[in-house]
Every structure is written in structure tokens, then in C-alpha cells.
Symmetry: C2
Subunit: 491 residues, 2 copies
């Protein structure tokens, strides 16, 4: 799940995950056993009163699907398709209803945004943005890092494909800059690459948290939040609430890592020169690049101002795609061969509907009532603090933000709310933590294996840096985030 | 539209169409002009009483989309996506409603069937079927043709991708057999290739007509028929009504062409030997191939027996895909990179909903009432005969069965019904003629440019053969078809 990086070698992210050994049939069988068992164990629990047998079967299939997304006997998209098929075949939902997630505007928003990312790479606009920033502030290795992180942040405003942002734009530039300073995996790693790679990954994780479009499953998280609390995490609301802690994190984390593990090369005038050279070589903006820039500004602008014009997010994204198709920036062939987009489309459309249907059954509500007893007597902030920490560090066990959030977001939110926490506080902190926790490992989310896989840093170092980043991010988002949301009158 | 042939060179069918010149901006502008004009001219007609302004705008967008699918300023899928976006942007339908075709089970049936076609090619089962038939009856060039046409027919029971059937399985075998008899484009074309290529195309057109899964837009035609008459063209009903005239056509057309333009090579023992050799080389069926055969039989069997078990067609297809994914016959990567499937998914899902929504506006009904006046005083069979012929030969102007049927099926059906023709007769004859008319040209439907493009036959000859085939097909389907449907008590 999450997504396939747009690697030209066609390799999928799954292959980079730990314990993924496609060849071993035995391990596959164990995985399927776990998946089936998870569903069966739900079925073995007597259906609670007031819940229909059909609803309970839906829960069983949902649990098995989520388990499948975690243990991965097949790629996440395939597991979800199996879940959707099971729902239709067993008559838990009529087939049209089971498939209705695929007509959900939010799913099409993500699909369209993946198509836009292709345009961003294809036209070179993403590279140009990066080089402009490097030319401006890249004469120092720390500035270089800020330049690339800012590129990532700018792109994150409309591109939820972290694979496209990192793998397609930021990572290749970072790698060529490291090599320009003779920093390669091994003895020379410490010159520049060993600093740049983990820091850029850490910044990407913060960017993921910053926007509704930061990564593909944020829209899913927003759906979950609405399901449980009725709070609509619009594009602008998400970004507004995130901007203060996110910018602080984006400034602090690189600084900290720069202090602790400084690169040997501190001054990087050649980077700025390289950027200037590349910009010269790219020449003036071509027609396609200009169109891409216009679409970029148009889409981001319309998303931020939804409150004024009321045009649906998905319609904005579709119009963006239409302009790119009409202007020839994207060909139809580009769209239909964008594998990553279709992968996300299938798993996301399936999960959205499953979670929604589960909410309609009353099971989620029942769970909330039951869990209220669990935290009774607690102060809400004890429950919030404790459960946020558990939620965060549970990500050591997940290879995907989507899998983690799908498995735990609704449940944790429900329990925290039951303890009496202010709804916005619970919804937002869990949403942002769902992303920030990906900092911990070298498999936390899509770009992790890309940056880690470059080979500049040992796994031990990578995990240490991830842990350090978490120790910075959590206080920043709790202290400054909570304060900021108080100022915004969200609680 | 129709589909992209799965050509390894990544070339799309569009490039093979006449007048498609991507480079000429002028011709593009003219095309867009025509599209816009078609929509505008609807808007300029005063909205009839009782029809809302919104409904009329929907009609304008629909007309522009269909015009766009015909003149093709962009590939068909892109044009439909533009139409869907226009509907959502102008508020003619709420965005979720505009997208709801993408949750339509019939659209997922087609998507799943395209995935299955990949399995058919990948496992080699399609080739094995072809070689088995060639070994059995391929010692004569006419038998060879029947063997390959039978392969096509067998595959047509579940594979609506004519590109996969022809381009992926039948055509490569036909080509290698022609070359095995030293028949290449040019001087030696007449030895075998000049017979085989056009005949196999003609047979494929008949197979297209024979099954609901014969080609991708038959399901769309079935939707249209249900829209107008309420008659449900189920898989088994479609095939049952077609079987008599289709088999007669499949026997007669090759015979006729064999008489008129006989190949120089009449005895082809080497073909049977080659088939035997290839079968030997393929060895026993591998695990994947066996699984594919089981899924093939399972899906076709369940589709034919829907009346007994009531499992939705799409669910059957999804279960087929699940089995292929579970058994590893298809990988997830196979599914998400199946470009042709996604292309069909987008245009089909968009058109299905547009046509449905149009029916809901009452415009279609109004059109029927108006057109009743047009044919008043006619005998119904005069109207049927005349309009069927016009419908059939209008295909000279279309490069796609989908575009033709979308532009004309509902209207012609409505007028024929208004003249008092028996509903089943009108529905079925128009449905089958929508496919059979593709015989006429070298761009009639997806496989046409594949077979024609092999270069064995001049365009003049190709058109002549197409015309001859139509003169055989029309009487067969009218005389034997109508009689057969009478026996089936359909009218």
C-alpha cells in the first residue's frame, strides 16, 4: 500500500519491505493464515445485540482486509480488491454499493493529483523549482537541505504522491549533489550524502503531515475523522492548523541533525553553481512548463479558497487534469499508464467505502460506548497523551501510513473522545501523528526505502536519527500545535 | 475509443486512424471547433417545455462528448473525462453523481475481463487453444482459418478486449503461419496471408457480435437497450439469440472469401506440424495455465447460468480476478499496468452515467414522442429495414463501434420502436448490427488496423471484402436471425 515509487526499473515498494519474501510459499501461507484467522476470530465472537449478522460479517471482512494490508500476503491494493469482492460475493453489501467508493469524489481527487504529479516531473517544473531554491540558498549544506525541503513542501501543496515528489524530483537532485561533492556510499558517505538523505526524508515526513495532499492516505484519515466526529478536515483547515508546528519542525529537525551528525562538507558553492548551470541549460520555461505552473497555481489556489467559491475539491483537480490534457502537457497515454495512480485508486476506493459502511452499521458507535468504560475516571489529557504516544510508536510495526491509520485511527480517536478530549484536538493530533510517526524507520512510508536505499547511512544510524526526530517533533506539535489550535479557537 | 491494442511498442490505436495527425495544430483546432459547435448548437435550440435548463445543458455536453469521440481531437477516453468534468463543473450533476458510473458493476465487469485477458496471454492458454485447434483441423488453409476463428470465438466468451484476442493471441499465430509458407506482404502475399488476414478480421467482427463480452461496448449497448425498452440483454440471452446467425456467418464468410479470392497455398500440412511442434515445446500445462483454464471455465459457466444462481456478473468477474491474484497467475503489477483496461474504464464509466442521466431527464422520451410522428404511416418493417441499413452503412464514417453506437443506437432504436417494431427485434438487430458493421473498413474497430496493418492486402481489396461480407452477414442475420428469435418467442 501507500504507493509505488515511479522508479523507472518498475520495481515496487513491496520488494523493499522487511520480511517480504515472495518466493517462500511457506511464509505466504502463514500470512494468509493470519489474515483468515483475524477475520474468523471476529466471526467467532457472538454478534452483539442490536448489530445485524451482515454488519458483523462486514466487520470480519474489514478486519481481515486491514490485517492483510499489514502482513501483506499480496500488495495492499490486491488485498483491498479481495476484500471488496468478498463483501459483494457474500452479499454483505450489494455489489454497486460495495463499489461505490470508486465514485467518491475524494478518491478521484487523489487519482487526478497523481496524474498532475506526472506533469510536474514530465515538464521539469519540479526540477526548476528545486534548482531556483538551491541557487538562492544552497551555498551551505544546511541551506541546500532547506532548499530541497522547501521544494518538497511546495510540491506537497498539490501532489499527494510522495513517490513522485521524492523519487521523481527531490531524491535524484540530492543524489547528484552528493556525488558532485564526491560523497558516495561507503568511506565518503559522511562528506554530504549521509547528512542529506536522512534529513530530506525527515523533512518529507513533516511535509506529509502538513497538507491534506501531503500523502495519499491523509484524505482517508479526513474521511475517518468525519465518520466519527462530523468534523470536516478541509484542505485549508488541515493546512492552517498544521502550518505553525510544521514550519517549526521543518526548521528545527535539520538544524538538530546538522549539529549532531554534521556533514564534512559544510560549504557547497558548487551546488549553487550546478543549480545555476542547470537552470541555464533548461533555458526559459517551455509552453508545457508554463501550463503546468498555471495549473499548479490554479489548483492550489482553488483548494485553499473553497470556502469562498464552493467548487468541490475533486472538480478542481479534474479541471486541472483537463487543462493539462487539452494543452498537451499530459497525453492520455501518460494518464492510463500511471500505475501508481491506479494502485492508489483501487485500495483507496475500496477502503473508503468499507470504513463508511462500517460506520453505518453502528459498530463504530457501539465500540465508542464500550471504550468509554475503559477510560472512565481518566483525565482526558492523560488519555490523549498516553494514546498518542502508543499510536506514534506503534509505527515501528507498520510499513505504511495507510495500513497504520486504517488499523488504528478510528479506534484510538474513539477512545480518546470517550475520555472527554476536545474533538478537534483529538482529530488533528492523531491525523498529524499518523504522518510524523513515519520518521522512525527505514520502511515507515514510501520514500523511506528510496532515501535509505541510496546506501549512505546504516540502519542503526537511520533508526537513531528517526528516534531523535520523533523526540523533537512530538514536543513541537504538542506544545506549539496545541497552543496554535487554541488560538484558532479549535478547542 | 474502443481500446488500445496491447502492442508491445506502446503504440495506440489512435495513430492508425485515418486523418489523425497529432502534429497539425490547425486540424486539431478545427476538430475542437466542431466539438464546441456541436454542443453550442444544442444550447442555441430553445429548451423544450417540460425539460429543465440543466437537463438541456446535459444534452449539450453529451452531444459534444459524442462528437468528440468521433472526430477525436484527443483519444476517446480523454474526451469522455473532459465531458464528465464539464458536467461536474457546470453543476449539471453533483460531482458524486457525475462519477457514479465508475461504481457501476457493469463497468467493473469490463475492467475485470480486461485483467483476465492479460492472464490468458501471459499463461499461454490462448496460444495452446489455438494450436490444439490448428493441429486438429489446420491441414487446409480454410481449416486453418476456422481453427483460428474458433479460438477467437472461445476467447470471446469471456474476453471483451478484441485487442488482446486478436493482437495478443490470434494475429501473431496467423502471421507466423503465413510466413512459414513464405507469404509476406508484396509479391508473395497471395500465397496465404492475403487470405488469412482479412478473413480472420471478418470472423472477429462476427465474434464481437456474438457475445455480450464480444467487445467492450456491447455492455454499453445493453445499457442503452435497457434504458429505452427495459429489456435486459443478459449474457445468456445475448449469446442465445446470436448463436444461430453467428455460427452461420462464421461458416459462410470464410467459405465465400475462399471462393472469391482463394489463397495460392491450399494445403497447409506444415501448419498442423508447426502446431504439433509448438504444443510439444509448450509441454504439459503449467500450474498457472491450469488455473487460468479453471477461471475461464468458472467465469464463463457462471455467466451463462446467472438465471439459476443470481450472482451478479461483475461479482463473478471479480471473483475470477481474485482467484488469478491469489494463485499468482496475475500479479498486482500486471493489473495496475494494464493500460487498455484503464482506458476503457474511464470512457465507459463516464458514458454509462451520461447516457443514464440523459434518460432520467425525459429528453430521450421526448425524442421518442417526436420521432413517432416522423415514421407515422410507415409499416414497422419498412422502418426497421430502412433504418437498419442506414445504421449499418453509416459505419463507413466511424472508427469505433463505441462511438457509432453511442451516437446512434438510442436514437435509431427509439425511431424504430415508434414505428411499432417488436421491441426485442429492434433491440437485438441494432445491437448485432452495431458490431457487424465494423466489417466494412480497415479502421472499423480495434483489430482492423492490426490485421490490415500487416500489409498483405490493399485498402481497395480490404474494402471490397468488407462490403462482400456485409452482403452475406445482413441477409443471414435478418433471415435466420429473425426466424430464430421468432422460434425463441422473442417477438
Amino acid at each position: 500500500m501507500d504507493e509505488h515509487p515511479p522508479a523507472p526499473n518498475g520495481g515496487t515498494r513491496e520488494t523493499a519491505e522487511p520480511g517480504e519474501t515472495h518466493s517462500k510459499i511457506g511464509s505466504q501461507l502463514v500470512k494468509w493464515g493470519v489474515v483468515l484467522l483475524s477475520g474468523l476470530s471476529v466471526l467467532l465472537i457472538p454478534t452483539p445485540e442490536g448489530i445485524t449478522a451482515k454488519s458483523w460479517r462486514l466487520l470480519a471482512i474489514f478486519v481481515a482486509t486491514i490485517t492483510g494490508s499489514i502482513v501483506r500476503p499480496l500488495p495492499g491494493g490486491a488485498v483491498v480488491l479481495l476484500g471488496v469482492s468478498a463483501i459483494a460475493l457474500t452479499g454483505v453489501l450489494p455489489v454497486r454499493d460495495a463499489l461505490s467508493g470508486y465514485a467518491d469524489p475524494i478518491v478521484w481527487l487523489v487519482l487526478a493529483a497523481f496524474f498532475m504529479s506526472r506533469g510536474m516531473i514530465k515538464t521539469g517544473l519540479g526540477r526548476r523549482i528545486a534548482f531556483l531554491l538551491i541557487r538562492a540558498i544552497g551555498r551551505h549544506s544546511l541551506g541546500l537541505c532547506y532548499a530541497l525541503a522547501s521544494t518538497d513542501m511546495l510540491l506537497g501543496t498539490i501532489i499527494p504522491s510522495t513517490g513522485a515528489r521524492s523519487g521523481g524530483i527531490v531524491f535524484p537532485i540530492a543524489k547528484s549533489l552528493a556525488e558532485a561533492y564526491d560523497s558516495k556510499p561507503g568511506a565518503t558517505a559522511g562528506r554530504l550524502g549521509a547528512f542529506l538523505m536522512p534529513v530530506l526524508y525527515q523533512c518529507d515526513v513533516i511535509v506529509c503531515a502538513m497538507f491534506l495532499t501531503g500523502q495519499a492516505s491523509n484524505v482517508l484519515i479526513a474521511k475517518f475523522a468525519q465518520e466519527v466526529t462530523g468534523i470536516e478536515l478541509t484542505y485549508s483547515r488541515w493546512a492552517l492548523a498544521a502550518v505553525v508546528p510544521a514550519v517549526l519542525s521543518l526548521i528545527t529537525v535539520p538544524l538538530l541533525l546538522y549539529r549532531i551528525f554534521p556533514p564534512e562538507v559544510k560549504h557547497t558553492p558548487a551546488a549553487a553553481e550546478l543549480a545555476a548551470f542547470e537552470l541555464k541549460r533548461m533555458g526559459r520555461m517551455a509552453w508545457g512548463e508554463k501550463m503546468m505552473l498555471i495549473v499548479f497555481a490554479l489548483v492550489a489556489g482553488l483548494w485553499m479558497t473553497t470556502a469562498f467559491h464552493g467548487i468541490n475539491y475533486a472538480v478542481v483537480a479534474l479541471v486541472g487534469i483537463c487543462v493539462l490534457l487539452l494543452s498537451g502537457v499530459l497525453t492520455w497515454e501518460d494518464a492510463i499508464s500511471e500505475r501508481g495512480a491506479w494502485d492508489v485508486f483501487i485500495w483507496y476506493g475500496g477502503l473508503v467505502r468499507m470504513a463508511e459502511a462500517l460506520g453505518e452499521t453502528g459498530i463504530t458507535k457501539r465500540f465508542a460506548e464500550t471504550s468509554a468504560g475503559f477510560t472512565s475516571g481518566w483525565k482526558w489529557w492523560t488519555a490523549l497523551a498516553l494514546l498518542l504516544l502508543v499510536y506514534f510508536y506503534a509505527h515501528y510495526g507498520f510499513a505504511s501510513i495507510t495500513a497504520h491509520a486504517t488499523a488504528m485511527y478510528i479506534q484510538f480517536l474513539t477512545v480518546i473522545l470517550a475520555a472527554g478530549a476536545p474533538p478537534y484536538l483529538a482529530v488533528l493530533s492523531l491525523a498529524y501523528f499518523s504522518n510524523l510517526d513515519a520518521s522512525l524507520t527505514h520502511y515507515g512510508t514510501t520514500p523511506a526505502p528510496i532515501y535509505f536505499g541510496a546506501g549512505y547511512v546504516t540502519q542503526r544510524r537511520w533508526w537513531l536519527l528517526g528516534l531523535l526526530a520523533s523526540l523533537v517533533n512530538i514536543p513541537i506539535w504538542v506544545i506549539f500545535g496545541f497552543t496554535w489550535w487554541k488560538l484558532l479557537k479549535l478547542w
